[in-house]
Symmetry: C2
Subunit: 380 residues, 2 copies
């Protein structure tokens, strides 16, 4: 199978990731805790090591400012609901995933106002439009780094500057960028960074996390056992414990650490370069095919390895089905949990066929997909 669904979950992972997960499960698959026996200490160390790796990757000073969650959606909810209180205002964009939009719309009932800044037909957000949406009660700006639909790269540095200038918190959804594009929480003025473990960071499913800037006081979503201040019936205030109740996904987090280490060994620039070359190759060839519509900026540097397309007016699910059944090519059709982004680029009815590339893909696979698209375009 040719796997072009890396924007959902990267696959396959580097072998070391599978090996480290298995090692953690079979050799020290115990519960981490403040004190404890050898296996408990081993898994605690493994989890901490992942925090350290991620801190290096994102230029985070204190590894304990990273909390682990089930996935990026939980991290985004934790950030959004931890910060926003009734009477606050939040600015987001039409290019967001439902993991940002739905929590914000949910909070409307609780008296949290929002503005959704509209992207253009290529999915681009003008930072000026964000600045113009600021109100006296604006508490948070929440934007994605890269659209999961069009691959459009947002100017998070510019948005971070605006947030800082107006003393507003900035939450970045790194779902499509973490592990492939540079993210520096300091220089980019990012107060909170949500990331999945199982996409660009090359870890397993069941992992994700949130960076919370030192000193930021968020209300936690869950309370429970934290292995700390166990005598107390109230949640401890210290990070990461405050946000990590119950048994974490120890082996998964260890696997995530192996993924991040692998990225740093290869070099994030080399990974991005390869993925950009694959993307460029695909876009150039796809543009030549009659009847194919491509979306997004289509220019490397502005467009990440996520390419949305349609063939004439054919339903995106039908095209994806043919790609899977007849060519064994895995892509993702439909709305990609980003309804407003589809409205923004005019594909709300048709959906799109999304190709998303990863470091493991090859130019031969790109050529094979292009050939398949040519054949399908002739027949549809």
């Amino acid at each position: 199978m040719v796997y072009f669904d890396n924007a959902a979950t990267s696959y396959p992972k580097p072998k070391i990731v599978y090996d480290k997960i298995m090692e953690a499960m079979t050799e020290y698959g115990a519960n981490p805790g403040r004190s404890g026996h050898k296996k408990a200490l081993a898994i605690s160390r493994g989890i901490f090591e992942t925090r350290v790796q991620l801190s290096k990757l994102f230029n985070i000073k204190d590894p304990l400012n990273i909390i682990f969650t089930l996935n990026c959606t939980e991290a985004l909810n934790t950030a959004i609901k931890g910060v926003l209180k009734p009477g606050d205002h939040v600015i987001t964009t039409s290019m967001e995933h439902n993991s940002v939009l739905r929590p914000i719309v949910f909070l409307e009932k609780l008296g949290v106002e929002h503005t959704i800044v509209q992207g253009d037909s290529k999915g681009r957000i003008n930072p000026k439009d964000i600045e113009n949406s600021i109100r006296p009660n604006t508490k948070l700006i929440a934007t994605t780094h890269i659209s999961n639909l069009t691959g459009t790269i947002m100017d998070i540095e510019a948005i971070g500057k605006i947030a800082k200038k107006h003393n507003i918190l900035y939450l970045v959804d790194g779902a499509q960028s973490a592990g492939v594009y540079d993210i520096d929480v300091n220089s980019m003025n990012i107060d909170m960074l949500a990331f999945p473990g199982h996409k660009g960071l090359l870890g397993p499913q069941g992992t994700g996390g949130l960076y919370i800037r030192e000193g930021l006081d968020l209300t936690e979503i869950f309370q429970g056992g934290t292995g700390s201040v166990s005598h107390s019936l109230t949640q401890p205030d210290v990070l990461p414990d405050k946000f990590e109740s119950g048994t974490p996904n120890g082996p998964g987090i260890v696997g995530l650490g192996a993924g991040v280490k692998y990225i740093m060994e290869i070099g994030i620039d080399n990974i991005r370069k390869k993925e950009e070359e694959l993307t460029k190759h695909f876009i150039e060839e796809a543009l030549k095919i009659e009847g194919i519509k491509l979306y997004g900026p289509l220019e490397i540097g502005l467009h990440a390895p996520v390419v949305a397309l349609n063939i004439k007016d054919a339903d995106s699910s039908e095209i994806s089905y043919i790609l899977d059944e007849e060519y064994d090519i895995a892509v993702r059709p439909g709305l990609h949990c980003a309804p407003l982004a589809h409205k923004t680029i005019g594909t709300f009815e048709q959906g799109v066929v999304r190709f998303s590339f990863g470091y493991e893909n090859t130019h031969e696979e790109i050529e094979f997909a292009v050939k398949a698209l040519k054949e399908i375009a002739r027949e549809v």
Copy 2:
């Protein structure tokens, strides 16, 4: 190492569990979704199969009434916060884990009242005390099935009857019982059952779940992408999607399914019988050692494979440290995230040394531990 920390996480898992996780990760580690390519369908089927296995185990009619979470703590929070609204009253017990107590205490700020029914010195809860605590605004009764401190088995059947009689919802924390003790949500009148995947159910860390009775309307904690009704900015109402936002821990859930299947192949009665024999063996021998105090009912049928003890007035952490360092025996000292349970049995200052047994343990290991305790008791 002799591993007696199964109440935290069972270890090791059956080999088939590791194998199935690895197979899922390496062969079809994609994202599940309503539609999609072969790998997406394969992981969807794998996850559904786990729901089916769990439904059989707990006598749940519709597998879609089970939702998956990161761990039991998230499941308990989902149940408690999904049901309770300002002005409601909830009854719980002094034998609960912080994963029940802390969310309930947190809700106090939002105007949710609670009563904590006191256990006796053996950690037993009298169902009558629960019934006597019912108020006109009592919405929920939340109790554990088995104390994670004393191993005391609660009469959840009697409590379920009381809840039903008074038309009050009943939430059972199955953290220490699921996979070892019979749980029938129908005959026991359980409206919600929270369970960890990584303890008695023999799945990996990073898995847990909640059964929600058909027709029960809970508010969800997270909103996000669900792969369903993607055109809408509000969370779908259908189970399990409403409570499963973002990418689930696919391979972990597949591993959990393998664990449950393994349990049903061996027979839950056979598993319990073996664990009870180990527990009986340990209690009988430990009772003979001078200077050792044991807690809980100490009678099979009333006492699960979780045994709390102390040696004279020695700090529980010190004893656990010696067991680990000198004998390579893994146990858990301290407060076990159950402060009120420790107050109930009078060990809030000293903590206890907790031995928790699993199906993989042997009578030889029990004898080795007894020998170690004898030696330590002589020296302390």
